[in-house]
Subunit: 487 residues, 2 copies
């Protein structure tokens, strides 16, 4: 269902794309068939590369045929791309084979890539000439305004943690808040919420958040349900997939946006969209006010098929409705029904608490997971003391852990909200710091400290190594760990 | 050595490129990873193809990665391109792998290809969608004006022979007379001469011949020697390679051009260029007035490393000088020296005649080849009767034969000039007709009737199947075998 008024407002908030041309020298050695070289742009960029070739020998009498691979981290270049056969399309691998007819000359790639490293392999020249890679350039793009970046004088490991977070956000800020500039290059609701939180502390591009909110509201499923992600091309269109939690996060994202921007016109425009989600999703509960997973459909929470998501989903619902109450209050609208709904669902949530084990359990298997505890904390189902206890108890009982940086974000937030700032700080540095130790300029879609090379997709070559949902250390550091507090 | 005045005249004669958009339907079956289909444009074209894809299933959530191969003849598609490892660069193989980010949509290739057939193989989509090839289009280009084509009412096998010849020429007529629009896409002197002969009987694009003559004259080696071929990009520049016979053919090409165009200004401009070639190449003879192969350097004659080229080269020199006499006579210039030179070299050529065997021999090994006889005929070293005899005698003595359509052209011409029109007609139909029988729309760079799949390059996938020097049946048919004479 398209809402042209909303899509018009999204279009009106289209961001400026800042372009910067970055340029690195090539190398002087002439290259023939089979020769290869890796070039390093020195940081993570998103943009349109070009490669300038010169020639040595006779006049080129045959096209140059070369292969190029763009990589966000050096490790991508070590992967055997030909053998990749995972369930994420191999079309995401940033590798091209190119014929160039006129030499010397510059080949400009029309596709956008996300990269720091570029490997060039000569597939074929002719017996009469060799090529020299003279220079690599890229017209890089981002809608992050470097001049607007809020400067905070972090030092030491905080400095790098912040830098890499900010770089991650910067590379994901394009025409929309993308999930990852390598993959999926798409607007996802779950990523948007975290990117917006980081943005408010860094680039403060409120217009881009507004645009994304209107995009989601501007193209929905037939019944008004928000999709979990949006396609921008060939035209704006929502995906036909939904997730229970992502849908609800629209409410929180809108409230966060208003809290920073005080843009009441947008709040008023989009409040009915929030109410529509509530109306649709309140039907997903059973007679005991507990989330019915058959009705809820997909609930994301974490990149983890083993995770039982009933308890977390229940909590996300409460978490979202609390912001919906704030939205309607701000607009002077009635909130009685919502408050009663929150009470009922909170009571039901408490029934998931296993007093003996001291944790919230989830689903028919009574699964103990860290995610369940974290979300009960974030939803305010527990007080601070209980919240701290359920997380600790869960960890002591071999709870199902967190897999993704996205889930880790919520764990860090829950630690902070239960008064464990020091632990939050340490855990953040251990987890995201682990990626830094492995050499990166941006934070990753997936990171398993116990097995950093593992991939749920069947190969890390399709992983996004600059992923929006991983950018929130900048938010935590800037909101909770500013130098004056921390030093 | 650049002559800017000549290059300016070449630029002024730049041809109109006629464009025609041809369009063929795709197919309705959805395609997934590994699926492939071949599409047939129905005739040989040169141009910029585009492929329009639609999708089936969910909204595309990953790029389309597909491979496409353009082929002049269907047999090219059967070749294992990966295993090709010949000495002609594999960069000539018209095969690309392409990522397309926005679907449905049209991918337009920026490179020019020569093709009738297009094979599309899907390398990767995603689990969420399939693609349908909806349509293939190509903006085709040629500097041949179809409206200007001289129509001759050929019938039967003559009709097809003429059609395929004309199509070959048409596809080679681009910004210059190319040798082949797939490979090398370049202006070669040897090909130019034959293309011009066919052009005078068909499209009559005299301007394009003029342009090519000025291009050769406009960029030469330091001593004024004409290169055997010219590069057009990134700027006009002669190759640093020469061939004795190709250099001399500039003279014949100029005279042929004047004979048809009566463009005396060009004749006057370029006569000194011809004289310069004569001055340079007259030094390539020994004290007996025989061609010294160490001084002559490369002599082409045929695509045949076994062929001894002394006798042929001697004859080509005489052949060229005879046209130089005509050029200078037309311009009222002195020709005495040239006539004496022709007489001396003709006498010397006659010394290569082996009276016992009844053939001209060549080189220290006294090789008997058909090419030697053919060129002695064309140079007028023999009279008609002797000419006929030496060719027949050579064939009866297991002479080294003709390999290329280029060499065959001269054999056919020699048969005609020795009064053997019927044999010429039959031989032409046997040789070029053999390519037609194998299914082609254009004539080939190389064709060995005894072993049509053989390749001196190490694989036919790099062969040019539309090659200028193979287009002359249209010239022969139209000049010597017009319907009223032949039926």
């Amino acid at each position: 269902m398209q809402n042209t008024e909303f899509l018009k407002k999204a279009e009106d908030s289209k961001p400026i794309l800042y372009t910067e041309t970055v340029c690195i020298p090539g190398r002087t050695e002439p290259m023939k068939d089979g020769d290869e070289a890796v070039f390093d742009f020195g940081n993570h960029y998103v943009g349109y590369p070009e490669i300038t070739f010169e020639t040595v020998g006779h006049h080129p009498d045959a096209p140059l045929y070369f292969e190029v691979q763009f990589a966000e981290i050096a490790e991508e270049l070590d992967q055997d791309t030909d053998s990749y056969n995972g369930w994420i399309s191999r079309s995401w691998i940033q590798k091209e084979a190119v014929h160039m007819d006129v030499l010397p000359g510059t080949y400009r790639f029309e596709r956008r890539y996300a990269f720091r490293y570029v490997r060039i392999r000569i597939l074929s020249v002719s017996g009469n000439y060799s090529v020299v890679v003279k220079e690599l350039k890229a017209d890089t793009v981002t809608s992050a305004d470097d001049a607007a970046l809020v400067k905070v004088p972090f030092t030491g490991k905080d400095k790098r943690l912040d830098e890499v977070s900010v770089r991650t956000l910067r590379s994901c800020m394009q025409d929309v808040f993308e999930d990852g500039p390598k993959r999926d290059r798409r607007l996802w609701l779950g990523d948007l919420r975290l990117e917006a939180l980081a943005d408010y502390e860094t680039y403060r591009n409120y217009g881009l958040v507004k645009r994304c909110l209107y995009l989601f509201a501007g193209s929905t499923l037939a019944d008004g349900r928000l999709a979990n992600n949006m396609f921008m091309a060939p035209e704006v269109e929502c995906d036909d997939q939904t997730m229970f939690d992502y849908t609800l996060f629209f409410i929180n994202t809108l409230w966060d946006y208003w809290s920073h921007s005080r843009d009441t016109a947008t709040l008023r425009d989009l409040e009915p969209v929030c109410m529509r989600q509530y109306e649709l999703l309140k039907e997903c509960f059973d007679e005991d006010d507990l989330l019915d997973m058959n009705k809820a459909g997909n609930v994301f929470i974490d990149w983890n098929f083993q995770l039982d998501k009933q308890a977390s989903g229940q909590a996300v619902y409460i978490y979202a409705l609390k912001d919906l109450v704030k939205i309607r209050s701000e607009l002077g609208k009635d909130t009685d029904e919502l408050i009663r709904e929150i009470e009922r669902k909170t009571e039901a949530a408490k029934s998931l608490y296993d007093a003996e084990k001291g944790v919230f359990i989830s689903g028919p298997g009574k699964q103990i997971s860290l995610a369940s505890q974290v979300w009960m904390v974030l939803a305010g189902v527990t007080n601070q003391e209980t919240g701290q206890a359920v997380m600790e108890n869960a960890l002591q009982q071999n709870a199902v852990g967190m897999n993704s940086p996205y889930a880790y974000h919520h764990y860090i937030q829950a630690l902070i909200e239960t008064g464990q700032k020091d632990k939050a700080y340490r855990e953040m540095h251990v987890y995201w710091g682990g990626m830094i130790e492995r050499g990166t300029d941006t934070f990753w879609e997936l990171y398993n400290p116990a097995d950093p090379s593992s991939s749920p997709y069947g190969g890390i070559v399709v992983h996004s190594f600059c992923h929006a949902w991983s950018c929130t250390p900048a938010y935590f550091l800037r909101k909770y760990f500013r130098p004056q507090e921390n030093q």
